[in-house]
């Protein structure tokens, strides 16, 4: 038999040793790691540095939301529904409220619709800032999280002034929003928008034109453009593959049909293009918020509903979709005429991104890019687990 290790003079140093036949090994990237905003595990099979097979494991954040929502009244569910997506909670509240309104046929006042869009776009901006920071964290550029998370705090201050809480707002309720804008709020929003626009120039210097980021993320994690629709990509992942599809334009809700904004796309469909698409979406959000503040009509903000303890929503069902910062977010609600929802099904944006698209894309990737690919798909594990 051939010797495994030979010395220079031909001696067999380890007689009887044989090479291992199986070259693959398993690696378990456990529930907490820098690539994800939550707890999500990956079981990888590696050969050297290259990933051969990936299998995701979710369920660490499972609380049984859909069951909890069936056991509470319609109004009580607003308190818990925001917690389904942790970084971007407002689409949840707005979707839930809109589903109840669609079933019960409730009209929302126009001013409330404008305020809802304002809250949604501010939440989108906060989530994208968090994503930039997190992406920097996965490749070791730790200044970026320090900057963006602190700047995101300015938006959270605005939320605290408007709704009373920084992260989970409980502000959108069926029928409108809970209370009107405080006095002088528009000026404070405009200040924050100017601040973030200025900071975008600094982020460009620090991060988006950074040589390290360009080397590490251009050409990495390519979502093949001919498979993107087949694999169910939505949101910024689909737009970075070249498709200009956005729920705000295709299926307009609230007052998005009256606002002017563009849908940024890219053609390369790698990690860097997804980052640039999100950066351009941030600019478009600033543009939308400025239009809203100019066009906001006066009027009531809540279409008052009957006593929540006895409020029966008529029987029916509705499927409402919205564009959260992660992708297409949808709720399917069924009511049987009682005081509680009969069934609420939450379709998070990450059920396709974080599970099967990730498993497909990790095949053939290198282990040092695994975190970055996971994060650039912007998968949010609480949405997958509910």
């Amino acid at each position: 038999m051939d010797s495994l290790i030979t010395a220079n003079d031909g001696r067999d140093i380890m007689p009887g040793a044989r090479a291992l036949e199986n070259r693959e090994y398993n690696l378990f990237i456990g529930p907490n790691h820098p690539g994800i905003e939550g707890n999500f595990a990956l079981k990888l099979t590696l050969e050297g540095d290259t990933i051969v097979k990936a299998k995701t494991e979710a369920g660490f954040l499972h609380r049984g939301f859909e069951k909890l929502m069936e056991e509470r009244l319609f109004m009580q569910n607003i308190a818990i529904v925001a917690r389904i997506c942790v970084p971007d909670p407002d689409p949840n509240e707005e979707n839930y409220a809109r589903a109840v309104e669609a079933i019960a046929g409730i009209e929302v006042p126009r001013r409330a619709q404008f305020i809802r869009v304002l809250v949604l776009e501010l939440s989108r901006m906060a989530s994208h800032l968090f994503t930039f920071g997190g992406h920097g964290g996965t490749i070791g550029l730790y200044t970026m999280p320090n900057w963006t998370v602190s700047d995101r705090d300015r938006i959270l201050d605005l939320f605290e002034e408007l709704t009373g809480a920084r992260v989970y707002h409980l502000y959108n309720i069926p029928g409108g929003v809970r209370r009107d804008l405080p006095q002088g709020f528009e000026n404070r929003v405009k200040e924050v928008l100017f601040f973030i626009e200025d900071r975008l120039k600094e982020y460009d210097e620090l991060f988006f034109n950074n040589r390290v980021l360009l080397e590490r993320s251009v050409g990495v994690g390519v979502l093949p453009q001919d498979r993107a629709l087949e694999w169910g990509a939505t949101g910024a992942n689909l737009r970075a593959a070249g498709f200009a599809y956005d729920v705000r334009k295709d299926d307009p809700y609230e007052v998005y049909g009256e606002l002017e904004f563009e849908i940024p796309t890219a053609t390369d469909s790698d990690c860097y293009s997804r980052l640039i698409v999100r950066r351009r979406e941030l600019e478009q959000s600033i543009r939308i918020i400025r239009q809203i503040l100019d066009k906001m009509p006066p009027g009531p903000v809540w279409n008052k509903q009957p006593n929540p303890l006895k409020w029966r929503v008529p029987a029916g069902d509705a499927y409402v979709r919205t564009e959260s910062s992660k992708g297409e977010y949808a709720y399917y609600m069924v009511s049987d005429g009682g005081v509680r929802p009969y069934r609420v099904h939450v379709r998070g944006a990450s059920v396709t991104h974080g599970v099967h698209i990730l498993e497909n894309m990790l095949r053939g990737a290198r282990i040092e890019d695994a975190s970055q690919i996971m994060f650039s798909l912007d998968a949010c594990p609480p949405e997958v687990d509910r």
């Binding site: 954040l61 499972h62 049984g64 818990i80 942790v86 968090f130 998370v149």
Partner: protein
């Protein structure tokens, strides 16, 4: 082996506690929805690091286990494994109202309701969720407790191990944690400390 009882405090102990409280490393394990308020606390605006508290990635070198929010039963299994790997003295901080009495998910079939039945908890922070200022106030309270020598709940795990183990097994079944807690407690004299 138990020559010095753990409850005595002399000058050297006081020096040690005031050094210990200034470099607590927190295990960076974000278990629940409270984790979204942790990056603001750690980054430039609220800056937890000026107190010496830093995130650490491995449990072997961490002092604080911060349970941010609810724990599903699946995560509880991992948390117990991690807790037993941490070196004493270690402090568990229950963050949010879900660790106190179930919080908002009190009627859920997959989250645990009361953290101190599975782990000895040093400090609870109420809120849903606590603000970064509240987190820092909580950590300051923990630092005061360490300074006074009262932060000894980690010994409780050795002393009442059957109680914790019974509750853990009831929640997620029997697992092998590779740490023999009763014999560790006997070897280091923790079990006889207050006899």
């Amino acid at each position: 082996m138990a020559e010095k009882l753990l409850t005595q405090r002399n000058a050297w102990d006081r020096v040690l506690s005031s050094l210990k409280k200034r470099s607590l490393w927190m295990l960076h394990y974000c278990t629940g929805c409270g984790a979204i308020e942790l990056p603001p606390t750690m980054t430039a605006r609220y800056d937890m690091e000026r107190f010496g508290i830093m995130p650490m990635v491995t449990p072997r070198q961490a002092d604080i286990l911060l349970i941010t929010g609810y724990l599903s039963v699946k995560t509880l299994k991992r948390v117990i494994l991690i807790y037993e790997q941490m070196q004493s003295p270690k402090y568990v901080v229950g963050f949010g109202s879900c660790t106190i009495n179930g919080g908002m998910y009190w009627n859920s079939y997959s989250t645990i309701k009361s953290l101190d039945q599975y782990l000895p908890v040093e400090l609870f922070l109420a809120g849903c969720m606590p603000r970064p200022e509240a987190i820092i106030a909580g950590f300051n309270a923990l630092m005061d407790k360490i300074d006074q020598g009262k932060a000894n709940s980690w010994e409780d795990y050795y002393k009442n191990y059957e109680f914790y183990r019974k509750n853990q097994q009831h929640a997620f079944g029997d697992i092998e944690t590779h740490h023999d807690i009763p014999s560790d407690g006997a070897y280091f004299g923790i079990l006889e400390a207050d006899k």
